[in-house]
């Protein structure tokens, strides 16, 4: 309603989701050519090379870890979780925006998801891959990780299904699997497009096999749409459950600062918050490098900024409730933990977190900021850092300051902790570099649908 009034006042239509003048063929050409014909530029090679060398750092860090064990990290008693869990929660949270965009916005019939869903889903997959790495290597003996799955072992032992850590195994592996097949189903018609437009034998064979002989018949499309809608419906509760289960890893424990019922909703909101920040961090350079400004318009970026603002406020509310409940309950351990956040050895992290996650995003109330691409890029980086700090504060402050002073401790990460974390950033970015050149980064068939809808009256949708 307010949008309509504003438009009436200003006297113009909202910018369309697709720059005018596009046809079925032009959107197809533009998106497919980035994969099929565009030569490898110096920018891509340099970026890919840089990320590849960072992945080598990851290999080194993980290799050394396998030789020496988790003692090379800064973890200790009482902080047994450290960077591994901080990074796990951070990465898995980033993944949530992809599923939100592809599933929830699809069910809500939000047209603006169309041009960002494909690469947001790719981002989800790569983020889940980075996330999954951390608990795996944190087990100390990753070659025994299959113990976490229920299988009939000769030892006659089974996993403890009452433990949130086992729930996590199921939640994350289901999430990874469903994200992958959802992504593949979305890709199927586009792979067929690439097969039909292939410029050489290699492309034809590879995309021919991947597209499975998709030919876009009416019966194919009907079953496809049923399956896609159902997958969206299934992925929606799934994505909400994943970070809920991740928050149970904390909330089911009795550690001060963890044992609260606000955790599941505030973790989910935080996940979406950081995920949208990461989508912006990736979308802004990508649309510039590949000339996708017609498809990922300023209006898309503004819309994502609004989602960030909304979820950021939910996160701020979560912080406030944590604070409030500590005082309201009068529990001396919770009170002490809160006091430690404000005045303890890790207080600078807490203040930095407030600055990054609560104060900075308030700039997004201003329309000029939401429309300023450079500002959005910077804010998205700030929020990404803020969300990482949030997990650090939750993990480290609570573990170093629990019930008995004799159990208190300190934690600082070693160079191997940082090498592993930076290494996964490199892995994630490298996979994104490969993705934008290897597969269509925007859903072509959905863009054609958008062209069709835009050309047939755009009544009723804002």
């Amino acid at each position: 309603m307010s949008v309509t009034q504003e438009n009436l006042r200003v006297g113009h239509e909202p910018e369309p989701w697709l720059a005018p003048g596009h046809t079925y063929a032009s959107v197809t050409d533009k998106i497919a050519s980035a994969v099929l014909t565009r030569p490898l530029g110096i920018g891509w090679l340099a970026g890919f090379g840089l990320c590849f060398s960072i992945v080598m750092v990851l290999n080194l860090a993980v290799g050394w870890l396998f030789i020496k064990g988790v003692g090379i990290w800064g973890i200790n008693i009482p902080v047994g979780w450290g960077f591994a869990i901080v990074n796990f929660v951070w990465w898995i949270g980033i993944g949530h925006a992809g599923t939100l965009i592809s599933a929830i916005l699809f069910l809500l019939n939000q047209q603006w998801r169309t041009s960002i869903n494909r690469f947001a889903e790719a981002m989800t997959l790569f983020a889940v891959a980075c996330a999954g790495l951390f608990p795996l290597i944190h087990t100390g003996r990753p070659w025994m990780a299959y113990y976490m799955f229920p299988y009939p072992s000769t030892m006659g032992i089974w996993p403890q299904f009452r433990s949130p850590l086992i729930w996590d195994v199921f939640a994350v592996s289901t999430y990874g699997t469903v994200s992958l097949i959802f992504w593949f189903v979305g890709l199927l018609p586009d792979l067929a497009t690439l097969r039909d437009r292939a410029k050489n034998k290699w492309q034809q064979v590879i995309f021919g096999m991947l597209s499975m002989g998709w030919r876009g018949s009416a019966r194919h499309w009907k079953r496809y749409q049923v399956a896609y809608l159902l997958l969206a419906g299934l992925a929606t509760p799934l994505v909400l459950s994943v970070h809920t289960v991740v928050s149970f890893d904390f909330a089911v424990g009795i550690v001060p600062g963890w044992h609260t019922t606000i955790f599941p909703p505030y973790f989910v909101a935080g996940a979406i918050y950081s995920g949208f920040a990461m989508v912006l961090t990736l979308a802004i350079p990508m649309r510039a490098a590949y000339g996708m400004q017609d498809f990922i318009t300023r209006r898309h970026l503004e819309q994502m900024a609004k989602v960030m603002l909304a979820t950021g406020l939910i996160v701020a509310y979560g912080y406030f409730i944590e604070f409030f409940m500590a005082f309201y309950s009068g529990n001396k351990f919770d009170l002490f933990m809160t006091w430690q956040r404000l005045h303890g050895p890790y207080a600078p992290f807490y203040y930095a977190l407030i600055l990054c996650n609560i104060l900075t995003p308030q700039l997004l109330w201003i329309k000029k900021v939401r429309q300023n691409i450079a500002a959005l890029f910077v804010i998205s980086l700030v929020i990404n850092s803020g969300m990482w700090l949030e997990r650090f504060v939750i993990v480290v402050i609570s573990l170093t300051r629990d019930f008995m002073p004799s159990a208190w401790g300190r934690y600082s990460a070693t160079v191997w902790d940082y090498a592993t974390f930076v290494g996964t950033l490199g892995l994630f970015t490298m996979l994104m570099f490969l993705f934008v050149r290897g597969l269509p980064a925007i859903a072509i068939s959905e863009m054609r649908e958008l062209v069709h809808q835009e050309s047939h009256g755009s009544e009723g949708h804002q």
Partner: protein, 186 residues
């Protein structure tokens, strides 16, 4: 085994420039009594699957199979946990009940979603008979446009009313921009 390639007619294919033309032509083709028809489009078009005669329970079979997969996944998930925790590997923790079902809900839920999702995708592919690298329609050169911006209607030779010349003329009368014979290699 003769080296000479023989081919037979699979059908006749008409090409259209807009989804509206295709939809109108499909409806007219059904009205003219052709039943074995199929339309090919670069994106899903509302009402087209009904127009080619794909409707009713058959067209929603994927949804039914997904439901079966979801129920199966959920029962498997709960059954597994119950069997592990209460039957084969019971651990007495302070006398708490072995069948502590509220603690089994998260895994049950995840496996419900996993079962339903896998069944949805696999049934979609299987009912579409994919992967299927070869199909006669790919023999038409212009068909590569079906994944970009052209819309095709194919009347198949197995239709009792099919006659190469008459059917081709019929498609032309529906204002198809191109009409091609679809050959199938034997």
């Amino acid at each position: 085994m003769s080296s000479e390639r023989r081919s037979r007619v699979f059908g006749v294919m008409g090409e259209f420039s807009t989804p509206e033309d295709l939809l109108a032509a499909t409806k007219k083709t059904r009205e003219a009594g052709y039943n074995h028809i199929e339309a090919y489009t670069p994106f899903p078009i509302e009402g087209l699957s009904e127009a080619v005669g794909f409707r009713g329970f058959r067209s929603n079979l994927v949804a039914f199979i997904t439901l079966v997969g979801g129920i199966g996944g959920g029962l498997t998930g709960f059954g597994l946990q119950y069997w592990v925790a209460a039957i084969t590997y019971p651990i007495n923790i302070g006398g708490r009940p072995l069948n502590s079902w509220p603690a089994f809900i998260p895994v049950t839920f995840e496996l419900t979603v996993l079962g339903a999702s896998i069944f949805a995708v696999v049934s979609m592919l299987a009912l579409n008979k994919l992967p299927q690298p070869y199909h006669p329609v790919f023999n038409v050169d212009r068909f590569s446009q079906a994944s970009t911006d052209k819309f095709f209607l194919c009347i198949e030779a197995r239709d009792p009313k099919f006659d190469l010349t008459v059917t081709a003329k019929f498609l032309q009368s529906l204002h198809a921009t191109h009409v091609n014979e679809v050959k199938d290699e034997e």
